[in-house]
């Protein structure tokens, strides 16, 4: 009986703390929104949210936070405009209760202020070639991640390792232009996407790794835009077709030496000729 009481009390305690914490808008914002959004700190990956509660009503905001993709698809003019402004980079849907969404909105509302223009992205200013090289090694898995996380290539591809890169998640060719240094850093630190959250929950990236990877992705995006990127996917196809042709040629070359005719071919031919 005592045991049962203790158990139920523990459960009640847990629930209360969970509820309390989930009601804490500041904490929620920090965990789920801050990688891409600031409040009054200027635009990051997504817009600066300072004063957003004044621009849009709470119902719309709730809908947008819960699933922006659906809202854009439904043709809501405001949502479509935002999507366009941010290169159709969709905000991941919020997984949580209605209460949590309103807690976040309340938190943003309480901060007040107004949106600032994009802050200067100085994160990667000090990046060297060495950082890029190390980032590439980390990306491709040639250099293992310190905390034994899976290397990026498992799910992502970039143009200079295309063909062998993963196709489970987005290609990161243009990631720098969409996210900027701050955005990449924010995403790698907080890992807001479910698959990444799970993958790196127990194997987080360290700061040096994040910096190297961000430097590498910047380099990738720049070469991509400058047209230096080799279109490896196409090369790979060409290589495949060429290799196949070569292989068939080789096979037919070898097959030519095969014994096709019977040893008695001449005899049969003569006999058939006589018959006619």
């Amino acid at each position: 009986m005592v045991f049962m009481q203790r158990v139920s009390m523990t459960i009640v305690f847990c629930l209360v703390t969970f509820y309390a914490s989930s009601q804490d808008g500041a904490d929620l914002f920090k965990r789920t929104c801050s990688p891409c959004h600031s409040i009054g700190g200027g635009r990051l990956v997504g817009p600066d949210l300072a004063g957003v509660t004044k621009k849009a009503d709470k119902v719309w905001l709730t809908k947008f936070i819960k699933n922006s993709a659906d809202l854009i698809k439904s043709g809501d003019p405001a949502a479509v405009a935002i999507g366009k402004e941010y290169n159709n980079l969709l905000m991941p849907p919020f997984i949580g209760s209605e209460n949590e969404v309103s807690a976040i909105i309340n938190f943003i509302d309480s901060k007040g202020g107004s949106a600032q223009s994009a802050a200067a992205d100085t994160f990667l200013n000090a990046a060297s070639v060495e950082n890029v090289m190390r980032g590439k090694a980390l990306f491709s898995g040639n250099l293992p991640l310190k905390n034994a996380g899976s290397s990026c290539i498992t799910c992502h591809s970039v143009h200079d390792v295309a063909g062998i890169g993963g196709s489970l998640a987005k290609s990161l060719n243009l990631s720098y232009f969409i996210l900027k240094g701050q955005g990449i850093k924010a995403i790698l630190q907080s890992l807001p996407f479910p698959a990444m959250t799970n993958t790196y929950a127990t194997h987080p990236l360290n700061d040096q790794e994040i910096y190297d990877l961000a430097a590498y992705l910047k380099n990738i995006s720049q070469t991509m835009v400058k047209g230096q990127a080799t279109r490896s996917t196409f090369h790979f196809l060409l290589l495949g077709i060429g290799g196949w042709c070569l292989f068939m040629l080789l096979l037919f070359g070898l097959w030519r030496l095969r014994k096709r005719l019977s040893v008695n071919h001449a005899i049969f031919a003569r006999q058939m000729a006589t018959e006619k």
């Binding site: 096979l251 070898l254 097959w255 095969r258 014994k259 096709r260 019977s262 040893v263 008695n264 006999q271």
Partner: protein, 495 residues
Amino acid sequence: MDVRSQIAMVFHLDKCIGCHTCSIACKNIWTDRKGAEYMWWNNVETKPGTGYPNKWEDQSVYKGGWTKSDNELRLKGMDRKSTMANIFHNPHMPVMDDYYEPWTYDYANLFEAPAGDDQPTARPISLVTGEPIDIKTGPNWDDDLGGSPDYARQDVNMHDLTPAEKEAMFQLERMTMFYLPRICNHCLNAACVAACPSGAIYKRGEDGIVLINQNKCRSWRMCVSACPYKKSYYNWNNGKSEKCLLCYPRLETGQAPACMHTCVGRIRYLGVLLYDADRIKEIASCNEKDLVAKQMEIYLDPFDEQVRQAARKNGVAESTLESARKSPVWKFVKEWGIALLLHPEYRTLPNLFYVPPLLPAIADTSTGSYETTCASLWGGIESSRVPMQYMANLFTAGDTEKIREVLKKLMAVRIHRRGVTVGDLHEDECKQAFAETGLTADVADAIFRLTSLPKFGERFVIPAAHREEATELLENTADIKGNTGFGTLNTPQRI
């Protein structure tokens, strides 16, 4: 010394009448199945002739057997590299026409054809496609010198013959022929075993029978092209290769293989030979002129106590050693030295020996009458209708001396027996024959007895198979004892 036991065979060609009973017996037991119709694990060829599959002896086409290059023994048709390169097409494989397209006849038409002006016929129907075909060739198309200009004249063994000798073989009243029955040689240095990429072919430890594991065979067909005797066949229906298994289920129950049991001329002998497995590589890779003599060295004397000890240590059963001492093959091959091997130059160290035939002498027609008698019986060997070189190409890798020696021994036995039964020969002639061949009257009588009057148990000395011991190697028989019976191993289940 690594002494092992081998079931070996002797075919006495003088006694073969070419009736093909052996082939039919084998076909009825083993190859009367879909996909195996064209296979003749046992076949009888006419020599001179091209045989089955056609020109099988022409290794410039089929590339079977071993060859010696850079002092190393290599498979003629393939090494590791070329096997990899050719693994999907196996370039030297016989095509279907090299064997023949098996067929049956549309017998139903004889009964069911609508009434018409002509007799109904039974058209040949291919057993492969099921369509009517025109028969081009069959398994014994050149039997009894049939179609000689096309077939016998293309016999591969006529190299090194003078044009006159070649011509004489096909002249009316001068030509002759003999039969050559062939089964798998169960070689000591089998090329098929070496060539199989799946490792499906193995030589049985207890009696040296070469078998294809039907579960492991992956239809590469390398055995088909590697076997110089073309005695491994591909079953096109089930996709596995098959070959003569020396009727091992019969041997294990003490019966002679079907081809031997049914042999009308009683030409076949079967028995155990002991051999030294340590010497296989050395002998298979020796110089070609030494091959015949060297292979005879590999077989060990079952009467030698040292050999017996080594054999026992190797796990050869006492009953096998005993039957090795009674083996007719030992007598023909080693004691009397009158049995030779078919194409020893393929270097597979075959275990099927042949007593070569004593063929009629060339007739002399200059007097107007058909005269085959010579000054002496010895003359019959030198003026044999089949050139000595031809026989040598078949049985001694081209060494005419060796074949002459064997034929002289056979003739000495005839001279001796004629002296005994007819008594019209001068004693000196018999003495000279013995002196030249090293035979004695006793040995000649023994050869005569085993050749002409052998009993069943003398022709086939089959060692006990001891399958019970083999079973004990694989499973603990005590576990099963007392547990067999209905529903004991598999208890009934209630649902």
